[in-house]
Symmetry: D2
Subunit: 266 residues, 4 copies
């Protein structure tokens, strides 16, 4: 049997940008507080910005902050968080009947900007039609791992799951998009999660998947690059467009980025 | 000055499908009750289905119902609804600063399956950069009306705003996708609305746009095919994928469809 | 050992269109005369057209005719042709070194409108990298046959090989595009051929592939719907855009089409 | 009246690549000899390659050479060439009737990998339908210049004319693809030409367009970055895929590139 782990993580992340002109920015680098991850302490500090305006009302999907950046911009985030999570045993989980899906889950059945699940129904039926329930989700994640190479720099901000399916290369973003796409094409709600990922090498923001099975969201990482129990979730959404750590309404140049997460004694 | 109108509409819509095999269906043909449209009475009746399971919890985005259809399927919807709405004077409305956007509005800033707004930022800046506030939204709607032909059958379920922008042809779905795309590319939240549309000829389900200006959603119909005050909203979402009146998880053949809306004495 | 067959085929094909306005048409329904197929007799007759202007100078790629159609247009083509062809044993054929490719073959290495071979290099290396020479081409054709369903009406004039690769459905045009795409992505010249196809059921124009192996073009039909020895080639090109039997520079409606090919005594 | 110019150009171009593994390369950096550009002398020298195998038989479309590169690869090309060319006065040229197009020109009417002209017929009819003959071609080139920004690095090897039409940014390759696409969509044969371009700043390989008007090919540069009389044509093809100066069947890294062209005394 898989044991639930409890671990404390320390996170320090810093983003540096240069803004030639002031621009609105939606920042999503603070972690979700609740459920299987509980905040002990955290602090977001920003230089080169006007006042911070937290987006209120949907904290379960991530804590996001509006700000107006200009000139030399730096955001620093520090957190201590306790994660209590058992890696899901997908094979044992059943698919939730559609009629029992909560309203907030239904929208994750549909295609989105980078996940054209409507185009993959036939492929998914052919390739995974014989496997049922959570085992189908596991088979999908395995298929992606077996058929796609993780290659840094092989995609960009316009790359969709269909593009990656053809190219057979991608990064975490693309692996997640493919699994989300396959799952939705099979009628399984799926969404994308940005996370700090313990033991991810090289350290960076990570993107993984949550699948709705047996009445709850379950984390899956089709890249297999980081342990599930070491993920600290930041933001949740339909695909990469919803969960970017830094959405810039204008132009800016990244000058430096560092992401650190380590296990510490509780 | 434009006057607020009050009018009562009678709606009768019927969908007939043949299902060779049983399939889950998400039905969205009931109208929203609240705000500028108040239900007097309505009734949804379905033949060829197991029990109806309303999706609870997000009625402001539409009333949706799960069912399992098989064989000869018929859904009939009847409603009486009072609409009290003033057509918006877009030019007079200001763009809401990003930092004041409610959480539920923020997601309508981002690209979606059929609205690749991330690809249109340069076009929108070039074409509409000199116009500000609601006048920019009006200019966008006018541009679409002037540059795109309404041609029945010119698009299908995979057509995106980018496809329509190139082809310069589309139906209401495509006109809406283009306006949503332009608005989001300019930082204005935009979403899609399915509606019963009084005086639409030939009668059919209609698709229009809501733009978030000056702190509220405002209806716009870039096709100009139906008066704003005669729209009865059914469902709201990011684009066509969220608001389909009949999402079928399987295969079926439409055998007949009728949509009727008429003004009646209150 | 496979024996060379000799057979005589009688072809009768007829196209009927209605032109609301006069339009230029490039007609390609006459068969190639030479090599493994020798004309005994043929006759093209056209009603509803100005004078016919054969395109001179590239008969090895097909015999094409310009005309200006108007009103009720009918083209009828009759031919008697002797075909002497041995189905190729692909596995025994070597890949021609690039440096030995004739000038006219080199262009068939590159991507084209419907064959985005540049996007498939990684897939082809992963999936067929262990097979060499003609056996690689055979493995590609088999893969397509095994992974894609032939479904009438499942594609249209904008469908590319990439679209079909995702959708896993297509018609002869799409099967051909996929094989051409895979071959080019592996450095094997590949082109598309329109043909009258004996025993194709239902009768229609057919589309197949020619691969350049061991210094010559070899016919392959990834749909397996018609015997190679019963193909009578019409036109040759990079993909569907080059070999359409009827390219219309304007608008017209097809009102009827019949294609007949039968074996007759020599 | 515009005068025919006569000028001598000296060209020196050098390409440096690193090949981790040996790969076939198709090199196209030698200039076309004939018509309005006559070679005085030229020399191609290559290090890090096996024997050079010129592709024989289609020199009017460019002189191309197969080689197998490995390790540190360097190609150097030197030429002296006399160019005698009058910039075309497009407005005075008539469109050639389709029925008079030579066989080798017909194929340039059709869409290609990066020029999806089949998708632009409606746009072209709407935007340029009122202008006839060469004036239509001029209007198309002007439209592109007015509506698209030249931005280095704004496209990559998968960018099509449709992508650029949406993005409103591109480099010479994309400007050429758009003009080719518009022209073909209007029934005017159009092809792409790589060239050494006198006064192009910064110096680089250039890509321009040839349109078939009044029975001959005429050079057009929609970027307006270099004078027509200073272009020395290298290779001709349907779009960028046919005319790349270096087509690599494998992987390599460019380490340096220099392109120099200057006017010298005859």
């Amino acid at each position: 049997m898989v044991r639930e782990t409890v671990a404390r993580y320390r996170i320090d992340a810093q983003l540096d940008y240069e803004f030639a002109e002031p621009a609105d920015v939606l920042l999503a680098m603070e972690v979700i507080d609740g459920g299987d991850q509980l905040l002990v302490e955290d602090l977001l500090t920003v230089d080169g910005s006007g006042p911070l305006a937290p987006v209120l009302g949907e904290e379960s999907l991530g804590r996001r902050t509006w700000l107006q950046a200009s000139g030399s911009f730096r955001a620093h985030y520090h957190a201590l968080v306790d994660v209590t999570r058992m890696p899901p045993d997908l094979e044992t989980l059943g698919v939730t009947p559609h009629s029992q899906l909560p309203a907030l889950v239904v929208s994750y059945l549909f295609p989105s900007r980078y996940c054209e699940s409507d185009r993959f129904e036939q492929f998914v039926a052919r390739e995974f039609g014989d496997v049922q329930g959570g085992a189908k989700a596991r088979a999908m994640a395995d298929w992606i791992y077996d058929h796609v190479d993780y290659v840094s720099g092989s995609s960009d901000g316009t790359t969709t799951a269909g593009d990656s399916f053809i190219k057979r290369q991608g990064v975490c973003r693309d692996f997640a998009h493919m699994l989300i796409t396959f799952a939705r094409a099979a009628g399984i709600p799926a969404r994308m999660v940005s996370a700090y990922a313990w033991r991810l090498d090289p350290p960076d923001f990570h993107a993984v998947v949550e699948l709705w099975l047996e009445g709850a969201w379950h984390l899956v990482d089709p890249t297999r690059l980081a342990p599930i129990e070491g993920l600290v979730r930041i933001a949740v959404g339909r695909d990469a467009t919803d969960i970017s750590f830094m959405t810039i309404f204008g132009a800016a140049e990244m000058t430096a980025q560092s992401v650190m997460i380590e296990q510490v004694d509780a």
